[in-house]
């Protein structure tokens, strides 16, 4: 009798621990996303020939490197309970700046830092509007979105090709990983951004303040946390990440086009939400957002492999998935409170 209890109780404790991990608002959604990602990947792999090739997985990273960087920046903003609608147009603006300046013979050593400074400044402007003038994040970043998209059209109405040697090299260079696998430099940049973001959010004061603002701005203020600075800074980070993503995107497409990445902000927000970050702020992980991007990428890849599905199914799938995740989050968080 006692033996049975002894045998069962660690097992019970283990299942309880698993249930706990899955139902906590902090890690639950991330775990569900991870399970879903693996399930989708395995299902697709068993359905389509060649899906399990390592390069197909690496292509997920190669094709979505810029989106990973965007989602990282968006995670910071959403963790504070804000939102940044401007990222898609800022990516487009970055590609336009890169394309025109490179065409005029500027050095990439000047152009890339210039883009990063410009997009960070735009993020700063958004942050200041939100914090100092109490404009809602939605509206402030919407204004930035219009501004950036409008500037794209002003720079040029048509697509500009980039043929600068460094950019071409970054676009064509493949870093071999052994076997016949390879990645692009953009993937390394994206991974670097993710690693830095994880470190900042988990191990620095700034990171903890970011979570605290999402948990309750007033409490954060009463605790003496630098709320004002942090709140502005997350938009600067988002702007900076958009700049990085823009540079990566121009490596990827080797052109500047004013109509590019329309609606990418929605992909980034969807990735963050699917990755388990609560839109009200306070809960979430950068690695969750990376998983979110991978889920979106797998959907795209499945639709490509299927071949008969039209592209609009991507949108419907993403919408449906988004729905599943927000309902899931709702269920998980309501159980706790």
């Amino acid at each position: 009798m006692t033996a049975v209890v002894l045998v069962r109780s660690p097992l019970r404790r283990a299942t309880d621990a698993v249930v706990d991990v899955f139902t906590s608002p902090k890690s639950g959604p991330v775990m569900v996303t991870a399970v879903l990602f693996i399930a989708m990947y395995l299902a697709a792999g068993s359905l389509y020939k060649g899906f399990f090739s390592g390069q197909v997985f690496l292509n997920l990273l190669i094709d979505n490197a810029y989106l990973v960087v965007l989602a990282v920046g968006m995670t910071f903003v959403i963790l504070t309970g804000g939102i940044d609608l401007s990222v898609g147009s800022v990516v487009a603006l970055s590609t336009m700046i890169a394309a025109t300046l490179l065409r005029d013979g500027w050095s990439p050593l000047v152009v890339i830092p210039l883009i990063l400074v410009a997009t960070s400044l735009l993020g700063l402007a958004v942050g200041l509007m939100i914090h100092v003038f109490k404009v809602q994040p939605f509206i402030a970043s919407l204004a930035a979105m219009f501004l950036a998209r409008g500037l794209c059209y002003i720079i040029s109405n048509t697509s500009i090709t980039i043929d600068q040697p460094f950019f071409v090299a970054m676009a064509t260079l493949r870093i071999p990983l052994g076997g016949r696998l390879s990645i692009t430099p953009s993937v390394i940049v994206a991974i670097l951004v993710v690693v830095i973001a994880v470190w900042v959010l988990q191990y620095t004061r700034f990171g903890r303040t970011t979570y605290a603002i999402g948990g309750g701005e007033q409490s954060g203020m009463l605790m003496g946390l630098p709320v004002a600075r942090t709140k502005v800074l997350v938009y600067v980070i988002s702007g900076f990440c958009s700049g990085v993503a823009g540079v990566l995107f121009s490596f990827y497409t080797l052109s500047g086009y004013p109509l590019t990445t329309i609606g990418t902000e929605l992909d980034a927000i969807a990735a963050v939400v699917i990755g388990g970050t609560l839109l009200t702020g306070g809960y979430g992980f950068v690695l969750g957002s990376v998983l979110g991007v991978l889920v979106l990428g797998v959907i795209q890849t499945i639709i490509t492999f299927q071949g008969t599905l039209s592209s609009w199914w991507t949108k419907i799938f993403i919408g449906a998935l988004l729905l599943v995740f927000i309902i899931l989050q709702k269920v998980l968080t309501s159980r706790r409170t």
């Binding site: 509007m129 003038f133 979105m145 501004l147 039209s310 199914w313 927000i326």
Partner: protein, 351 residues
Amino acid sequence: MSGFFTRALSNRLFWPVVMLVALLVVNAVAVPGFFSITINADGHLFGSLIDILRNGAPTLIIAVGMTLVIATRGIDLSVGAICAIAGAVACSIILDSPDPGGLWTVTVAVATALALSLVLGLWNGFLVAVLGIQPIIATLVLMTAGRGIAMLITEGQILTVESAPFKFLGSGFIVGIPVAVIIGAVLFSLAALLTRRTALGLLIESVGINPEASRQAGVRARGLLFTVYGFCALAAGIAGLILTANQTAADANNTGLFIELDAILAVVIGGTSLNGGRYSLVGTLVGALVIQTLVTTVYTVGIPPIATMVFKAAVVTAVCLLQSPTTNAAFARWRDKLAAGRRVPAEAVAK
């Protein structure tokens, strides 16, 4: 005079109206006959002002619905997608019918499109009111999936229709006034009468201030949320039909693209706070007119139309900053200082 000025300045419609007047003045200076409205041979009204009203009608129609949604502290991002779906449904029904020009065909097409819009709105309402999902993310689902659904209906094609009664919706005239303007005016008046001449508006505002408290006070918050999201989607459907009829083609990708942003801007420029709890339909009307006049101004003044978005950004930023509590506080301090400065010499004169 100073008292009047202070009162006007503290009115939340002050800056939007100033903006509208400024834009109209710019136009009047740039184009001599800007304010003239003529009646052409067909008895239709023509003129720049009529154009502003006609082109601004779809945005206004959606913005009216959006105002009520925002008053409940919600937001509806899916209206652009609903525009596309409504247009796609109507056009595909008209194309599939044996009699595309028939009045009955068009009536069925319009009714089906509007019914579907209403269903989509109730779906949004369900997510917000029953499941308690944040409005911005609840409607993001339909915003993302909606254009996919519209493309599913049109099978990725741009559906061009030749149907006189349908075209009438977009570019027709009744007693000289464009149909779109009449629809906009009717919808606006209806919303204004229903919410401001009854307690409905007050109840909507109370849900926006505190849904739980209003529920406990006996307000049926859930039903109200269903109503406002349903109404907003219905308005979006109407706007989508006008836009589609105007182009005589349903384009799943581009019909109503960014119109949700314009509508939200119109509401915000009109002084309705995104925090809900109070709204001004007249403000929304002014906001929608500001946006459309801005677009017209860009054309008439000769700025390249591609720069429109930059100007939109500038106007949004200006209005938001002027309406911000921080700026108001600064204005108040400045007024106090002026008043204090004036009082001293006045007392000196009295002596």
